[in-house]
Amino acid sequence: MVQFTDVFKSYENGTKALKGVNFQIADGEFVFIVGPSGSGKTTVIKLITGEIAPTDGTVNINGFDLGTIKFSKLPYLRRTLGVVFQDFRLIEDKTVYENVAFAMRVVGSSNKEIRRRVPYVLELVGLDTRMHRRPQELSGGEQQRVAIARALVNNPSIIIADEPTGNLDPARSLEIMLLLEKINELGTTVLVVTHEKGLVNSFSKRVIAIDGGRVISDGMDGYYNYETK
């Protein structure tokens, strides 16, 4: 569960990134967070992942209060999340299998668990036949699938995708979104941060629109009808 209650965030340079943001995302939801550049979307993601702390207000993620959480507890919060980035962020000298297994190794999973889980997740994202390839041998869409598999392999309760289709063509973008929808149907909460209006409007999902650090709209109608001022 994700809960933002009167959240304010100001940076050291004086920028007021968020000005009283309120929303709640229940388990199992699929939510788009949309808005133009500089609206505060990235700040929302950074708050959820614990990269920064709120200046005021409360951010509660899966029972962790991000305003008071100890630094040593952050890894345990992040194990409940899976993050997918626009630029994939794969390790170039590791194979697809090793990239995904890496995420399990760093949290202490046994080799037996890794051998069981990694092939399953790669099959889920449709890359079971590409396990032994390296990232540079894959297309953009395939690399993003690997990134999704890595985000998924530790069975997180929330997948956060930050502009996951930013480097992909429309066809691949749709494939990725369909994959994320499929993951959501299996029970994982999915947050997709994007500014791609067309993509959002293709899906009937909840849309939270942010601009100028405030929530402009929060609707279940699944339509990105917010226009940049």
Binding site: T49, E51, S72, P75, Y76, L77, R78, R79, L81, G82, V83, R89, I91, F102, A103, V106, V107, R150, N154
Partner: protein
């Protein structure tokens, strides 16, 4: 870069070790000289031999006096005459021209002047002869060597730390993407940190062990040459075997310390997020 880091550690440790060995040897020589450096306290010529001998306990109670050895005028005469080849030159010379005396050995050569003054004040002692300048010279040399060694050790330690830290920083920079992913998926700081600490430990160990072996060889060569060149009986190098274990311990401590601290400093910024 790792090779360069090891070489810097070796160089720094050898310089540190060399100065430490120099300081140890100077201290050892000074201690030898202290034990041989004597003050001569001449007894008043009006006192009999038994009265002169009775002064021994008073003399030994003076601060900084380690021991006092009584030499009668007869023994002094015999000792004096024995230094000459033709002893017949001194036939008929009465030992009463000499005084009874005490050969006094000190604990601390730095306090020679004070001790000399205290001995003069002992009732029955007519005159005290001490080579103050030699004593002060020894102390000056010891203080200079100790101070220079300490300063060098500190400077070289800091330099080694800096080089090691930069080496590990390069490694962490090369692996920054991997570190970021590890943090993203929930790796603890300890899990991220330990491979770099191990790397620092390995570099530090290799550097310190290599430096130790080189230091041993250099010391053996230099100490033999120095002793042969000096021609001075009191200049003796400490056997390396007597200092081998503490030296190895010190080298390992410095090498491992540099490795661990350097790597912790290098990785620190990457763990803040």
């Amino acid at each position: 870069m790792s090779f360069a880091s090891i070489c810097v550690i070796i160089a720094c440790l050898i310089i540190m070790g060399s100065f430490a060995l120099l300081a140890l040897n100077v201290n050892s020589i000074i201690k030898t000289l202290e034990s041989e450096n004597q003050i001569l306290a001449y007894v008043d010529e009006n006192l009999s031999e038994s009265e002169a001998r009775a002064l021994q306990s008073q003399i030994e109670q003076v601060a900084n006096v380690k021991s006092a050895q009584f030499v009668s005028r007869d023994d002094a005469m015999k000792s004096f005459v024995s230094t000459y080849d033709d002893q017949s030159l001194f036939d008929g010379l009465d030992s009463s021209v000499l005084r009874h005396r005490y050969i006094i050995y000190l604990d601390d050569i730095a306090k020679m002047a004070d001790t000399q003054q205290a001995l003069v004040n002992v009732q029955g002692i007519a005159k005290v002869s001490a080579h103050l300048e030699i004593g002060r010279g020894f102390v000056r040399v010891r203080n200079i060597v100790s101070a220079v060694s300490l300063v060098l050790v500190i400077i070289l330690f800091v330099i080694s730390l800096f080089i090691m830290s930069n080496t590990i920083k390069l490694t962490t920079f090369e692996r920054r993407d991997e570190i970021a992913i590890m943090k993203m998926v929930g790796a603890t700081s300890g899990f991220i940190r330990w491979p770099f600490v191990i790397e620092g430990l390995i570099l530090g160990s290799i550097g310190s062990l290599s430096a130790y072996l080189i230091q041993w060889g250099v010391y053996k060569l230099v100490s033999d040459d120095v002793i042969a060149a000096s021609g001075l009986s009191f200049v003796k190098a400490l056997p390396f075997a007597t200092i081998a274990a503490p030296m190895l311990g010190a080298f390992l401590a410095v090498g491992l310390g540099v490795g661990i601290i350097g790597s912790l400093v290098a990785i620190r910024n990457y763990l803040k997020v």
